[in-house]
Symmetry: C2
Subunit: 342 residues, 2 copies
DNA sequence: CTTATATCTGCGAACGTTCACAATCCGCGC
DNA sequence: GCGCGGATTGTGAACGTTCGCAGATATAAG
């Protein structure tokens, strides 16, 4: 209030105070090697005394970079931003945070058709890179991708089923192994995988592979309870579990490819008087909040959205020529649904 | 690939093609009134032919604006970005989207102590405005706020308990009314409010007020089942519900201030053999995914994160001098927990 | 003591826009 | 017929930084 708002200090002000030229200030603060250590200290001191910060707008203009990361979240046609998967939201949030930590701003968009988005940003050139969250089977989208990529624009994908591109995924093989090892340690003898393979959801397939591997390592035959398409994932899980019971399969535990299916399965088991965890162990993947409130509470493998977001940002911003393909560690969260009472 | 990447066209290129001077291009495209309609058309045509877009960096530098919106999500000390309330995430996402739609980028941060953030952005001046998501009782934070505000920097708050500032909240009074009206229509006779009043959570208090008003309008006496502090909201709900049963209060329905409490209450009722919805109706607020999977599925009042995000951005960016205080509509979602079978 | 070399710093320009101001054109009234 | 105001457009500068290049200083070698 009193005194009014002072003008923001510029590099000229710092230069004057430090007794050097203005470009020297720039060099000192941007970490250029061609600067004497003594000068740098002097400049830094002056900058701090004045409360100086580099004006990113000017720096970016001159440098030719945008300092901006575009993020597109793929959602179904007509979906509002509110109705997407909670994990995608958490991922979005952590991408934004990771970008901010590296001094990048984010331009976020929810899109049913990624290609529109790609075209737009490609032309407008408003972002240095693009992070895509979600899975699409949309072929034109992949074309736009390659176009972006060949222009030197960086793109990273969460869970991409397309092998030409940079991606980041959960360590789904480890998830499968963790699930099997936990179930066996808890006293179950024949865990079965619940989920569909060979769908665009590569991550599900990978979880199965981890599961199968661990089963064989324990001298057991993998077994699969395939799901069929339904309106919701819960419904898929419900149906698959019901079928399992009807056919009287010889299994005593289920590893569902995602929590939503696991929750559906829990309902089906309850309806058929199969008591979880006594008669049947159930474990999922995703660590949905819902799993904390189901009855019984759901054991699950938790992905790490914070790590995943950081990895995505890193994949986009670090311009190593090598393709970035990172696995983000997962962790086991034990709740009642696999606690076979002694 | 072939031909390499062409240089991005500038306003000089457009000017040359349209046969006007460069600043005229700027005027034509920025909607300045001091321009002949014929000229504007000529310029726009040339711009489209060349695929020209204004370089935001240069425009912002010259204009003195940042084109950036800072968003801070307040979380508890040590919390990672991943562990915050799902609604806050949804809100964050929709704020980012709403900002992007208005051509603003977002700088997102998760902070336990908002004052650090305020100070940082205040000095660095990297954002035109600030959106704060979350509730804090931290007094120093409010000081920083006022400072920002008096410097002409715009700030908007989700659910602020501080009356000097712009805020956006759910229409909590309507929520209370909706809950009561629904419960009465469903055949319950004496619904009770479950939650604590006079806490920093103004929104809870407002929901109670709406509830009480609707009760009186129906000729009923409001009733309150106060919660006490516990590690989690579920636990608060569980305890409050247990006490309600022990004391044998004459009630047949509960409106919980949030879904987490409602879910806790559901557990307590189940443990005490009070059958929901037959003996007791339960309704919450938040529309957590968890409510879809609880047993029975939870009737709830759903806030609208998309609308809320848009309103927050509007409050920050529209520089009317009048304080922006907006109520975002809520909607009733009926599930089994209030479906008293006939 | 001089020259070559490496290390550091200053100078000027450039990035692409918007803004203040001056210049031009037009029609109209005296 | 000349000047004058309003509507448009052009001119020049400025926003605050980074970059290329030349100049300066110090250190080492001949």
């Amino acid at each position: 209030m009193s005194g009014g708002s002072r003008r923001r200090p510029t590099s000229f002000d710092v230069a004057e105070r430090a007794g050097v030229s203005q470009p020297t200030v720039s060099r000192a603060l941007s970490g250029s090697p061609a600067i004497a250590e003594a000068t740098r200290r002097k400049v830094i001191e002056a900058a701090e005394a004045l409360g100086y910060f580099v004006d990113e707008r000017a720096a970016r203009l001159r440098r030719g970079s945008t300092g901006t990361l575009a993020v597109v979240v793929i959602c179904r046609e007509g979906d509002s931003a509110a109705s997407i998967n909670p994990f995608a939201y958490a991922l979005l949030g952590s991408v934004c945070v990771a970008a901010s930590e590296r001094g990048f701003e984010t331009l976020v968009s929810f899109q049913a058709s990624p290609e529109a988005f790609f075209g737009h940003y490609q032309e407008q050139g408003r972002a240095d890179g693009l992070v895509v969250i979600g899975t699409t089977t949309n072929a034109p989208a992949w074309e736009h991708f390659r176009a972006l990529d060949s222009e030197g624009r960086r793109v990273a994908y969460w869970g991409s089923p397309h092998d030409e591109l940079d991606w980041v995924r959960s360590d789904n093989h480890a998830a499968g192994r963790l699930a099997v090892e936990h179930l066996l340690a808890a006293g179950y003898r024949r865990p079965c995988f619940l989920g569909a393979l060979n769908t665009p959801q590569v991550q599900f397939t990978e979880r199965y592979e981890g599961y199968a591997e661990a089963m064989r390592a324990a001298g057991l035959e993998p077994c699969l309870a395939p799901t069929v398409n339904a309106a919701t994932r819960e419904e898929e899980g419900r149906r698959a579990a019901r079928r399992l019971i009807e056919r009287g399969e010889d299994i005593d535990a289920v590893f569902a490819a995602c929590d939503a299916m696991a929750l559906g399965a829990l309902e089906a088991f309850a309806a058929a008087d199969v008591t979880v965890p006594r008669d049947m162990g159930v474990i999922g993947f995703d660590d949905l909040v819902a799993g904390r409130f189901s009855r019984p509470p759901l054991t699950t493998i938790a992905p790490d959205p914070a790590e995943a977001g950081a990895a995505l940002v890193e994949a986009v911003l670090d311009d190593s020529d090598a393709m970035a393909r990172r696995r983000v560690p997962v962790s086991l969260i034990v709740r009642d649904s696999t606690l076979r009472a002694g």
